[in-house]
Amino acid sequence: MKETLISLREVTKTYGSGQAAFQALKGVSFDIAEGEFVAVMGPSGSGKSTVMNILGCLDVPTSGEYLFLGEHVELLNRDERALLRRHCLGFVFQGFNLLARTTALENVELPLLYRGLPLAERHAQAKAALALVGLTGWEHHTPAELSGGQQQRVAIARAIVTRPALLLADEPTGNLDSERSAEIMQLLTGLNQEHGITVLMVTHEPDMAAYASRTLRFVDGLIGHDTAYVGAD
């Protein structure tokens, strides 16, 4: 049995307060083991992004526990969460969020810069990450000079260049056509299987979810269905 990477215990999240208060998560519990490739699905507004933000240490739960490799994340302060993101997490955003007018190489180097790596190592690792996503030869192009699929691959390279324990992707193919989406999914599958990176991905499309080994379905702030229990025999 693989080690448990993350576990949520009765996590709730309430936005706003008083009359305007809205409970986006109503008590969510699940575990994810190292090496899993999990798809998160569910209707719009069901709390998928909310749970991703909490898992990504960008946000804190209103109540409940979040353990990352046994550590209570809900007790960490802002800087400690930033360091956890820096050292253990990788993000791929729907909108890519690459730095404009900055080359692919510099974009991928950014997380290494915050880790304080020397220039030569930064270059080497960033180049290797770009090679891994199939962008050798595009290092010195700025996002404006790259296609959507290429931009998303740069974003993935930036997310995995630090060899994170967990890769979080919120609708990574939301802006791409089906062909580009398939490329990205193959890339994520490869990273998961060959490099052992745990992947958690939000998607609306069953085609994309089919690449994952497990699907979590959110309904109205709760987990409606988890294939980990259904599919196991």
């Binding site: 930033a82 956890l84 993101r85 993000f91 969020n97 404009a100 510099e106 915050y114």
Partner: protein
């Protein structure tokens, strides 16, 4: 960490070079203005000091009435007599020579030319005490002075006005019905510290002046006494001794104020340069306001930049940048901008103040302290006005920032 921040900041500035240059324009102008003003002021001070020195060093001036500088009205006070000169020379050992002068403005004429100029009656010692040089001919001597002969020595300006080119030696000029032989011409001295043309002058023996030029009532009078102090001896001491002596000679009771004044050239120079220093400080302060405006310009652009780059900041925070790293990045960016502006401003100030001082005929006195100060202030402005935008960037909520359009 600082090195990284600097790297990021420089990258950011390079990405937006046009905006960066416009932003620092305010700082450039401010720094350049401050340094230029101070350099001009220092030049003026240096010029005045030099001009006062041209009065002659180790000079003590004794005047009737209580006044220090020209322009202040003097209450009536008895004039000095020639005996006073002798008395000072005998009683105050530190005094090497005493020159007595008396003057009055008058028209002088030669052939068809004429000019209005101060006629100064003086003793021969005035040549040395007044720091004059003879350019042509000679000065009158003691026996000529005692005999009261009608001899004249012309200042350069008067010579040019009356004799345009030709030599005046031996010619007779007329003033107040007196015909006076020109025996010499003074070497030019230029403007005085008060802006008077020192070369607009005609010198003649004091006796001749008293008899023929001065009015009936001031036949015996000497207007001003100029004392030259022996080298290496304190002029302050002389001022004190001469004051005491003159109080005694003029019969001033201990509870009465002086009815004359004694001062040395250093006092004049101090009074004048303190005036220019005040002016310099004033101009510098006005220029400093533009530095402040430049700082506000930097804050404005940095605030715009933070809003514009909200998504970028969100990305950095999501990747794992600490609050203080983002703060430092923006702060370093602001400081790099303003410090660069400071450097360009200093370069501009050097060019401008060199051009202006040479156009205004002032000496070019470089003050490295003010340059260092201006640079430090401009960098400080970067910290001061960069802090608010930087803190705003650092405190952003990463989720909000990422969602920002």
């Amino acid at each position: 960490m600082l090195w990284n921040a600097l790297l990021l900041a420089l990258r950011e500035i390079r990405r937006n070079l046009m905006r960066a240059s416009l932003t620092v324009l305010g700082i450039i102008i401010g720094v350049a203005a401050v340094i230029t003003m101070v350099t001009l002021g220092n030049g003026a001070t240096a010029l005045i000091t030099a001009q006062v020195a041209s009065l002659g060093s180790n000079l003590v001036i004794v005047r009737p009435g209580q006044r220090m500088s020209p322009g202040q009205p003097a209450g009536w006070a008895p004039a000095f007599k020639e005996e006073d000169m002798q008395a000072i020379l005998e009683a105050v050992h530190a005094v090497r020579e005493v020159a007595g002068i008396a003057q009055r403005g008058s028209t002088v004429a030669w052939m068809t030319e004429s000019t209005f100029t101060p006629i100064v009656g003086s003793t021969p010692s005035y040549l040395e005490v007044g720091n004059w040089k003879i350019a042509e001919g000679r000065f009158f001597n003691d026996s000529e002075q005692r005999a009261g002969r009608a001899l004249c020595v012309l200042g350069d300006t008067v010579k040019k006005a009356l004799f345009s080119g030709s030599s005046p030696i031996g010619e007779k000029i007329r003033t107040r019905g007196v015909s006076c032989e020109v025996i010499g011409v003074l070497a030019p001295k230029g403007q005085s510290a008060m802006g008077q043309d020192q070369d607009d002058i005609v010198l003649m023996p004091l006796k001749a002046y008293q008899r023929r030029i001065a009015g009936r009532r001031s036949r015996q009078d000497v207007g001003t006494l100029l004392l030259s102090v022996r080298d290496g001896l304190s002029t302050e001491r002389v001022v004190r001794d001469v004051s005491a002596l003159m109080r005694e000679r003029r019969g001033i009771a201990p509870n009465e104020n002086d009815n004359f004044s004694v001062f040395d050239t250093r006092q004049i120079s101090d009074a004048l340069s303190s005036t220019t220093r005040v002016l310099t400080a004033l101009l510098g302060a006005v220029a400093a306001v533009s530095l402040l405006v430049g700082g506000i310009g930097i804050m404005n652009i940095m605030l715009v930049s933070v809003t514009e780059r909200t998504r970028e900041i969100g990305t950095r925070l999501a990747i794992g940048a600490l609050e203080r790293e983002v703060l430092l990045q923006f702060l370093v960016e602001a400081v790099a901008l303003s410090a660069f502006g400071g450097l360009v401003g200093i370069a501009l100030a050097l060019v401008a103040s060199f051009g202006l001082t040479s156009a205004m005929g002032l000496p070019f006195v470089l003050d490295f302290q003010i340059m260092l100060l201006a640079f430090a202030v401009s960098a400080g402005i970067g910290v001061l006005f960069g802090f608010v935008p930087a803190r705003r960037a650092a405190r952003l909520d990463p989720i909000e920032a990422l969602r920002h359009e």
